[in-house]
């Protein structure tokens, strides 16, 4: 290797370029790396010139079409000296050759993340590295982290490298990328931080063999102890031991060798190179090798106390049989070698279950097999509280949805909605049921819910031609548009004030009832006591209103209470809401949300927040109908809050767009061209002519 120490692989001020940066993994990892250390200067991907990888909270990464183009575009002091390769397997050799030929000696280290690179290509890469004076790590490395300089390349540390890697004196060199992270987190319990973490990859040929990496670690001034994770396959460990025995001095080494269970079975381990191919390449062969080098049998946790003394005589290190034994073994080795801990040890390694739900099984188990749920550490505790143990609504899982859908499918014979045959729905269901299935992902529980929803849609059809949305349809007809344009205009004339108030109502209801034990909104007996909820709500509203008025600001009104037409009496009702209420009464169905709304309208008046009892309007009724349907799904975390609060407006829009179509048809049949135009004589100018 041309690197003289681990710092030579990666240090602060290194400039990193990323191949195929717009790929799924490369872009994701690059964003995290850029936020962690900001060392990526650019990337390239064929056909993606001019793109930018956006880094929220960090510096965006420019994307070029080719490596050569990138080198030409970057100023000399910004050109990369490290490159990370995410190219497809068959492109890896060509890409690295291109990097070496066009980097003018600038690039010193190449990290090949790509999996499934052929052995022949890997051998050629090694040859290329030797002749061109470049270090190549991989293939299938996860990358490297230099904790003292707080820089990483690749995905070591996952999406929160600072969480796992605290500055310290242990260097981890591992055949498995994931084990770099795991070992780093284990060692925190010994008060041991990390100097460097190196994932070598474990293809058949490892381009950064242990015999080259170990001397770098031995020379590294931040490293006082080396931890190795070793898998079967290859003679790397024998060579490494030979190499370090030639050095003047050696730092203590802790070793875990995995894979012995597979010996004698025709089992291939997860990594391509973890294949036994000759004497001394098996896990048991490697264990023997290390035990002979250390001159000690493997660490015995039952007798941990004797090891500081035992190891003091050797100081070469020791092998552990179980990965969690690394912690007591590290403590013993540190004591024997006079290595001070890097920080106060974190909690000792132990079983710390987050959720225990053994149910009836617990009765039959001995006590040590029924662990108590432990305190969940931050930042998880906050998330768990929010998403698991309290609150309503499912937390969405994110993935690329470009060509996927949960909502619909078509196998070439049957279109389906959430797995339910459209054809069956056509034969036996109603439009309302089908729409609710599409919106909720599951059929409604009670037959009356579809009927209530249908009533809501009918109520949303129209409130006369003067409504803004109906006017939109008429305008469109007057301009000579086609029906689809008129329907879009109807939708375009809806907004947070007209048609969107239901969203605010849903947010309000969720806020009020999320703190209660409400499970079934149709169960009057199980409903929370509404009087204190109303009282508290009105009190807060009044305070907010008073403060806003004093400041001369607009105040946030109670959503869906009051109506510009139905407001002339001391106690007002929206007739459309009354129809829904009457239906509920006739069916003997209680709706806690609608009850709350009526009590709220009265409470606002009773507590002096309003001068009369305003109508609970149709938007409120529609929202209460939908909240009745979705509340159990929110409690069971089957749908998201976002979906629940969007539904009222979507439902209103569905009804109203049909109404808009009706207005369009009427206007088109009977109106004259441009009859919606306001004559100039009726238009007023509120400014002053300037020329």
């Amino acid at each position: 290797m041309i690197a003289r120490s681990l710092n030579g692989l990666l240090r602060k001020d290194d400039r990193v370029a990323v191949s195929n940066i717009t790929g799924r993994e490369a872009s994701k990892v690059s964003v995290v790396s850029q936020r962690y250390c900001g060392n990526i200067v650019a990337g390239w991907a064929l056909g993606k010139a001019g793109h930018v990888v956006e880094v929220p909270g960090g510096k965006n990464i420019p994307v070029y079409g080719q490596f050569e183009e990138m080198m030409a575009a970057l100023p000399e002091n910004r050109r990369p000296n490290k490159v990370i390769v995410y190219s497809p397997p068959d492109a890896v050799y060509g890409d690295i050759k291109e990097i070496i030929e066009n980097s003018q000696g600038c690039v010193k280290t190449v990290f090949v993340i790509t999996e499934h690179v052929s052995i022949e290509v890997t051998a050629k890469l090694r040859r290329l590295a030797d002749t061109e004076g470049v270090d190549i790590l991989g293939c299938n490395t996860l990358g490297v982290i230099n904790v003292h300089d707080q820089v990483r390349i690749g995905a070591v540390g996952g999406d929160a490298p600072a969480e796992t890697f605290r500055k310290g004196s242990a260097c981890v060199i591992s055949n498995s990328g994931n084990m770099v992270n795991t070992i780093a987190s284990y060692l925190q319990s010994a008060g041991l931080g990390i100097s460097h973490g190196v994932s070598t990859g474990k293809d058949v040929l490892v381009l950064s063999p242990l015999k080259e990496l170990l001397p770098l670690a031995m020379r590294d001034r931040c490293t006082k102890l080396i931890v190795l994770y070793v898998e079967p396959g290859g003679v790397y460990e024998q060579e490494a031991i030979d190499a370090i025995q030639k050095l003047d001095y050696c730092k203590p080494v802790l070793v875990y060798v995995a894979g012995e269970f597979a010996e004698g079975m025709d089992v291939s381990l997860g990594h391509a190179g973890a294949v036994v191919g000759g004497a001394g390449t098996s896990a048991s062969g490697k264990k023997k090798l290390f035990d002979e080098y250390f001159g000690l049998p493997p660490f015995d946790p039952e007798n941990a106390k004797k090891y500081p003394e035992l190891l003091a005589g050797h100081r070469r290190g020791i092998r552990v049989n179980a990965l969690h034994d690394l912690v007591p073994a590290a403590a013993a080795l540190m004591a024997a070698s006079g290595i001070k801990r890097d920080f106060i040890p974190l909690r000792p390694l132990a079983l710390r279950p987050w959720f225990v739900g053994l149910g009836g099984l617990a009765k039959d188990l001995p006590r040590d097999l029924v662990p108590y749920a432990a305190n969940i550490p931050e930042p998880y505790a906050r998330l768990v509280k929010q998403q698991v143990t309290s609150g309503v609504g499912r937390v969405p899982s994110r993935q690329s949805m470009r060509n996927t859908s949960h909502a619909s499918s078509n196998d070439g014979a049957t279109p389906r909605i959430y797995g339910h045959s459209l054809l069956t729905l056509m034969r036996g269901g109603s439009f309302a049921e089908a729409v609710l299935l599409y919106w909720l992902g599951q059929p409604v529980k009670h037959p009356f819910e579809a009927r209530l929803f249908e009533m809501s849609l009918i109520a949303s059809l129209t409130n006369g031609p003067g409504t803004i949305s109906a006017q939109g349809a008429k305008m469109s007809a007057s301009a000579g548009n086609d029906p689809n344009t008129a329907m879009m205009t109807t939708l375009g004339c809806m907004g947070s004030v007209h048609g969107g108030n239901g969203k605010k109502a849903a947010e309000m209801l969720i806020k009020v009832f999320a703190g209660t034990d409400l499970k079934d909104p149709y169960d009057r007996d199980g409903a929370p006591d509404l009087a204190p909820l109303v009282k508290k709500f009105v009190k807060t509203f009044k305070q907010r209103k008073a403060m806003a008025k004093e400041a001369g600001l607009e105040y946030q009104k109670v959503p869906c209470v009051g109506h510009p037409v139905f407001n002339t009496a001391a106690v007002n009702y929206d007739p459309r809401e009354r129809v829904i209420s009457q239906f509920l009464e006739d069916e003997g169905v209680y709706n806690v949300f609608l009850d709350f709304y009526h009590q709220l309208a009265r409470g606002l008046m009773a507590q002096g927040a309003t001068s009369k009892t305003h109508a609970v309007n149709v938007d409120a009724a529609l929202t209460c109908v939908l909240m009745g349907i979705v509340w159990p799904l929110l409690v069971d975390k089957k749908i998201t809050l976002e979906r629940a609060v969007d539904l009222p407006m979507i439902a209103f829009a569905l009804g109203r767009v049909a109404g808009g179509a009706g207005e369009y048809l009427d206007h088109r049949d009977s109106g004259t061209a441009m009859d919606m135009r306001v004559p100039v004589s009726e238009c007023r100018f509120l400014g002053r002519d300037l020329d």
Binding site: E25, V29, E115, S118, I119, E120, T122, A123, K124, R127, L142, A155, V156, G157, G158, D159, T164, S174, G177, N178, M179, N181, T182, V204, L205, V206, L207, E231, G233, A258, G259, F261, V267, S268, G270, A274, G277, A279, L323, A350, L351, R352, F355, V356, G357, L358, G359, L361, D364, L365, L369, P377, Y380, V384, V388, S397, R398, Q399, T404, D636
Partner: protein, 408 residues
């Protein structure tokens, strides 16, 4: 990833293509008249099973024959004889080559040189592991330039084969062997032995090779590899086919013969240490698995479906365990597992076996929330561990738990 071939494929496809001297042969089923004629020409033959096994594995089924009736009978019986637990694809008979000398050669990628190497030993014919290292000569090869006759000759000389016609003949054959190795994307190939006749002619008399399936040359091999009856289970076959269907995320399993724990593991390293811990602690894992590599939802769901279809009915504990993921979205993978578990239970009825879960990584809490809900719906007992509990401790706990529940 690797694919293996034995001597018969070499004789049929590769030796003629690369002009490597090899004995004549016939393959069962073969007419008696042909066998009779061949034996008359050859003077004798050797009947062998076409199976992927070493010399020790084939021992007892490799038989010398000189008369037609015995040969015909052996070709039938050897083809039908289970060898080292496997059914041969067929049987074949090769020409007997009387030899003065037997030589071992192998070309393979070598972890010491980080490139290809040639190994030669003039004590061929036996298992090469039993030959002392001092009798073998291994020389590194330049992967770009390959092997030339001079290098081959020098290696043979170092191994004790003096310059002369034999050295020269064999060196030329080794160059052809390299051409084959390189042109077909092999990972290793071994001829043991080259049989050397009194006249100095050499014949490649036994052969085995492994291809690198990642090598583009292997993908354009020009002939189909023979399908050997394997001992792989239906589970392994289903998963291997599914694994080959995409490179998005791992779908690797290997049967371990255990009966208790169904382990769904994530990460090559994690899966190895978890299985090692389970095995040590008596957890009796059913198989080794690695489902890491950030599989998308559909990939993970089908992977889980295959596991459940083959193993859940027999399992005593479901273990879902991985380290702190770097890239794998836990919310996506766990949602997929939860949905597959729900679907399996909808069809077969819920199995109320304990479920032990341990994981860390992006979307962890969302993933836990989703899986926990499903387990509660199915009334399955569970314990979830976050990344603050070491995976090996979780594995040891699962092993103790299953031992107890299985016993009781």
């Amino acid at each position: 990833m690797s694919a293996k071939i034995g001597e018969l494929t070499f004789l049929q496809e590769l030796a003629p293509r690369f002009k490597i001297p090899a004995p004549d042969f016939v393959v069962e089923p073969v007419p008696q008249s042909v066998v009779k004629r061949k034996l008359a020409d050859w003077g004798g033959g050797i009947v062998k099973p076409d199976i992927l096994a070493g010399k020790r594995g084939k021992a007892g089924t490799v038989r010398e024959v000189s008369d037609c009736h015995t040969a015909m009978s052996l070709l039938k019986t050897v083809a039908a004889t289970i060898v080292s637990g496997s059914q041969p694809r067929t049987a074949y008979m090769v020409q007997t080559v009387p030899a003065e000398l037997e030589i071992f050669t192998a070309i393979t990628y070598n972890s010491a040189f980080l490139g290809p190497s040639l190994t030669v030993c003039i004590h061929g014919g036996m298992d090469i592991e039993s030959v002392p290292e001092s009798d073998k000569v291994t020389v590194p090869l330049n992967v770009f330039r390959g092997l030339n006759a001079y290098q081959a000759s020098e290696a043979l000389k170092k191994a004790g084969l003096e310059e002369g016609r034999l050295n020269s003949n064999l060196a030329l054959s080794l160059v052809k062997l390299w051409d084959m190795f390189s042109a077909t994307g092999m990972q290793s190939c071994e001829i043991n032995p080259w049989r050397v006749t009194r006249s100095g002619d050499v014949y490649a008399c036994d052969f085995k090779a492994t291809f690198d399936e990642n090598n583009v040359k292997f993908r354009g091999l020009g002939f189909s590899l023979p399908e050997y009856p394997t001992q792989t289970s239906a589970f392994e076959e289903d998963m291997a086919a599914w694994s080959a269907a995409s490179h998005q995320g791992q779908a690797h399993v290997a049967e371990l013969g255990g009966k208790l724990i169904l382990p769904m593991l994530f990460g090559g390293g994690a899966s190895t240490i978890v299985i090692e811990t389970l095995a040590q602690a008596g957890g009796d894992p059913m198989f080794l698995s690695d489902f890491g590599g950030n599989p998308p939802y559909e990939r993970m769901k089908k992977t889980a479906e295959i596991c459940f279809r083959h193993k859940l009915a027999e399992a005593s504990l479901l273990l879902i365990l991985g380290g702190k993921a770097n890239n794998t979205q836990i919310d996506i993978t766990f949602a997929a597992i939860a949905d597959a578990l729900q679907e399996w239970s909808d069809t077969h009825g819920a199995r109320r076996i304990p479920v032990v879960v341990g994981r860390g990584g992006p979307g962890l809490v969302q993933g836990f929330a989703r899986l926990k809900k499903t387990l509660e719906n199915l009334d399955m007992p569970y314990v979830f561990f976050g990344p603050d509990t070491p995976i090996t401790l979780v594995a040891a706990y699962a092993a103790r738990l299953v031992k107890h529940t299985h016993k009781s």
